[in-house]
């Protein structure tokens, strides 16, 4: 039991760590690679949960994570980047140092919020949940601080990963939710893709700032 707890803890921690790496990364290709790592970490965590809780359907979730998030999405993102000739480095609002500090603050916050909240839940869930929350917050932070569509999408994905971690941690949560997560990720990806292409037709770059300039004096 103790060991399982430690290992689950370790995987979740790894996920948080990779989130920080995402925050740190300022090259698009690098970003995509780190995200692959993130997805793998997620699948490991979920897999471990599946083994520990002995709930086979979690294996499915882990598989989905590996397949979609670690293979399909990074691949297609790379192709988008190539196709649209997005300049390769990512402009970060406020610089890396500050974002890292804010990120640490967020992790602290999620621990403060979650640990007392989950005294009732079994220890395996506790840490997981706290880490999941911090992954979610870090993903949101990334979406806020990146001024480039692809990196925003990645931020959003990492946020979803946090959700899956939480869902996996939730004992006996029916399959409905995982499917829906995957489902939403899928939709998200498709729609974003559609939009990127649409936008490509009209803009030279997918920098969201350009999108905002589409606004003339329309109010």
């Amino acid at each position: 039991m103790d060991l399982t707890f430690d290992i689950a803890n370790f995987f979740a921690g790894m996920l948080v760590l990779t989130s920080f790496m995402l925050l740190y990364q300022d090259r698009i290709m690098g970003l995509i690679n780190v995200f692959t790592l993130h997805a793998i970490a997620l699948s490991l965590a979920v897999g471990w949960q599946a083994w520990a809780q002995d709930r086979p359907h979690l294996w499915v979730t882990a598989g989905i994570a590996v397949f979609f998030k670690a293979l399909v999405i990074p691949f297609s993102l790379r192709s988008i980047v190539k196709k649209l000739r997005i300049h390769r480095d990512v402009e970060i609002v406020g610089g890396i140092g500050i974002t890292m500090l804010v990120g640490i603050g967020l992790v602290a916050l999620s621990l403060v919020v979650m640990l007392p909240a989950t005294t009732a839940a079994d220890p395996l869930a506790r840490e997981d949940l706290a880490f999941a929350l911090s992954v979610v917050l870090l993903g949101l932070l990334m979406m806020v601080t990146r001024r480039n569509a692809v990196s925003q999408i990645i931020g959003f994905m990492s946020l979803e990963n946090g959700l899956i971690l939480a869902a996996a941690g939730a004992e006996g949560m029916p399959l409905v939710v995982e499917i829906s997560v995957a489902f939403s990720v899928l939709i998200a990806f498709i729609v974003i893709g559609v939009f990127l292409f649409r936008i490509r037709e009209r803009f030279d770059t997918v920098d969201v700032g350009e999108l905002d300039n589409a606004r003339r004096d329309r109010q």
Partner: protein, 667 residues
């Protein structure tokens, strides 16, 4: 039974409104609508004066809030105001049969006119907060539509805008007031509010809110600014109703809340009423004195009279708080009597102004003059109204002011020192307002109707139609009656006084020779009839003597021109020149009047120029800052409309972190 009849009458008014909206194309619709409105109002007036079996009649309809229903009530107070409303309504409808022909686009007036009347009637009949406020705001909405009827002039649009914003401000204040009285359980019926036990601070706050709410509708300073804008913008029969009647409905609301629902008063309640009332009276009449737009002038004088009424109500409150029933009854009766009188002559005057507007197309008195020759009947009627308004005996305006002075004379008996010091000053304000009012109407009448025509339009004016004249004659006749037989009217009002201030004046019917003596004959008495006869007799005597013993010959000759032959009409004393002394004496106190005189040196050929600009301190010091701050805030927040997506996301992010922190701290 009368209540049921009244409600049926209101329903009929609404039906007329709907019909007018549906058949706006037909030619006869104008006459039909106004005629029907007038008839129904007359019917409602009968319902008001009809003897009620019980003193108070109530009924409830399954409308409004479902668990409560709509409650209606006809007691002495609502009966009195119902009579006032429908007297004015009938006159306005009758007047409009003729005047309505001037309307270019009657479809924008017709449906709203009966609806407006219905709204005012319902306010007076309402017996729960919901019905009251619905009809109150409905009244504002319909009148707004009619103010908007001449929507091509930008100033009318602005006037309508300001009007409705102020109106809904008042409604919100009343909403809070009633919410306070109803309590968290929502006892919205007036009966529940009366019986409810309130915390000590509740009545004071409710009084303040009632002052804001009813005051903004009645035109109490500094909430009066919409009135001189909106009243002139509407067609004249509507202006007459708004100024003469709607403001009275506001007074009704105030009386209903403060004298009825709030329970026994504390003496200090009267302080804000007295101060605000006196300020309003003087402020209003001063602006009327420098105004050159005839209808605006009338609107300002309405503000003055509202102030006077509030002063009387304040006195009544003060006396009531000291349990001096008779004095309170005197003040209260004076207030209601002035309400009645003002509704008569202010409507009459607006009708007169409307007749002038219809005949000349001018509202600016500087472009009028000599109308006494071209519109003789209107001139007589307007003069009558002006005399009544200037409180000249033996007309009705004087009687109510006389009663107010009597009430002031009783006030030394009041114990609180603040009142002892305040009331004399208020008395001065009343007298000042009365005197300025006379000056104001000498100016208005003298410039608009006397002298020589200042514009071709005024020269070519034709007498107005028979319906309008009929309505005005009817109103003037009532003014004379109310002035000559005041005792009768006072006796009809005094039950209301008994019911609401717990005292009653001596029955005036029993005083010999139709005279009135509020307290005792040895103390003060007035007899309009004798004064009238006295004046008529001596006038006749003077005429007779002069013609009998002196020469009766009359020769026409040119006026003394001081050596400048055939001077142009422009050389007459105009409105602004007449106002010059008032401007000089009172400027820099309430308004700032800047006069620029550009006098050419000798030998220069350019003409001399003179201009006056008036700054209304109330507007520049109170309303402009508010407007500016709202605009500034809106402009500042507009940045949030154009953020980048990151911006928006960071807002969400911030909100999330903040709430999580909140929860963390709450743990």
């Amino acid at each position: 039974m009368p209540l049921t009849m009244a409600l049926i009458g209101v329903a009929m008014l609404l039906a007329v409104a709907v019909r007018a909206a549906l058949r706006s194309s037909s030619e006869t619709i104008v006459r039909e609508t106004y005629g029907a409105s007038a008839a129904i109002c007359a019917f409602l007036f009968l319902c008001a004066v009809a003897p009620r079996g019980a003193d108070v009649v109530t009924t409830a309809l399954p409308l409004g809030l479902p668990w409560m229903g709509a409650h209606f009530k006809l007691d002495v107070l609502s009966a009195f105001f119902l009579a006032v409303v429908d007297l004015g309504g009938a006159a306005a409808g009758f007047y409009a049969i003729g005047y309505g022909a001037h309307e270019k686009d009657p479809g924008r007036i017709l449906p709203f006119f009966p609806a407006f009347l219905a709204g005012m009637n319902l306010v007076v009949l309402a017996d729960d907060a919901y019905v009251f406020l619905v009809s109150w705001e409905f009244m504002s909405l319909t009148s707004w539509a009619m103010v908007m009827s001449h929507h091509h002039e930008a100033e009318n649009r602005r006037a309508a805008f300001i009007y409705l914003v102020m109106a809904s401000f008042g409604t919100l204040a009343l909403l809070m007031c009633f919410g306070l009285l109803a309590g968290s359980e929502g006892g919205y019926q007036f009966s529940q509010m009366r019986s409810a036990a309130h915390a000590a601070w509740v009545p004071g706050l409710a009084l303040a809110l009632a002052l804001l709410g009813a005051g903004s509708k009645a035109g109490l300073a500094p909430l009066h600014i919409w009135l001189p804008l909106a009243h002139p913008a509407a067609p004249s029969h509507v202006s007459g109703l708004m100024s003469g009647v709607m403001t009275k409905v506001a007074i009704y609301g105030f009386v209903r809340i403060v004298f009825d629902l709030l329970g026994p008063p504390a003496y200090w309640w009267s302080l804000p009423l007295l101060t605000l009332g006196a300020t309003t009276a003087v402020l209003g009449i001063l602006f009327a004195n420098i105004e050159t737009d005839l209808k605006k002038l009338l609107a300002y004088s309405t503000i003055e009279n509202i102030g006077i009424i509030f002063v009387a109500l304040g006195l009544a409150l003060a006396f009531k708080s000291q349990n001096d029933g008779v004095a309170a009854a005197l003040a209260f009766t004076a207030a209601l009597y002035h309400v009645f009188n003002h509704s008569l002559f202010k409507t009459l005057l607006f009708f007169g102004a409307g007749a002038v507007l219809g005949a000349t197309g001018e509202r600016d008195i500087e472009k009028l003059g000599g109308l006494v020759h071209t519109m003789p009947r209107t001139a007589v009627l307007f003069l009558g109204g002006a005399m009544a308004l200037s409180a000249l005996p033996p007309l009705n305006g004087f009687v109510s002011e006389w009663m107010m002075f009597q009430a002031v004379l009783l006030s030394p008996s009041l114990a609180p020192w603040s009142l002892k010091l305040l009331i004399p000053a208020v008395g001065v304000a009343l007298a000042l307002a009365a005197a300025l009012c006379a000056g104001c109407f000498v100016r208005a009448y003298g410039v608009a109707f006397l002298g020589r025509a200042r514009s071709p339009a005024a020269l070519a004016a034709k007498e107005t139609d028979a319906y309008s004249l009929g309505a005005m004659w009817w109103l003037l006749g009532l003014c004379v009656l109310a002035g000559v037989f005041p005792g009768f009217f006072i006796d009809t009002i005094s039950p209301a006084a008994r019911a609401f201030v717990g005292g009653q004046m001596a029955t005036q019917g029993s005083v010999p020779w139709l005279s009135i003596a509020p307290i005792a004959e040895s103390r003060s008495s007035y007899n309009g009839l004798v004064v009238l006869i006295f004046m008529a007799a001596s006038t006749w005597a003077a005429i007779w003597i002069a013609h009998r013993f002196g020469s009766a010959g009359v020769r026409r000759g040119p006026a003394w021109d001081c050596g400048f032959p055939d001077s142009s009409p422009a050389s007459q004393y105009g409105g602004s020149s007449f106002a010059q002394p008032v401007r000089r004496v009172f400027s820099d106190t309430v308004f700032v009047a800047r006069e620029h005189l550009d006098m050419p040196l000798t030998g220069e050929t350019r003409p001399a120029r003179f201009g006056v600009e008036i700054e209304d301190r109330v507007v520049t010091r109170i309303y402009d800052p508010i407007e500016k701050s709202v605009v500034w805030l809106a402009a500042t927040l507009d940045k949030f409309h154009l953020l980048s997506i990151q911006g928006y996301l960071s807002l969400v992010f911030g909100a999330l972190v903040a709430l999580l922190l909140g929860v963390a701290i709450w743990h």
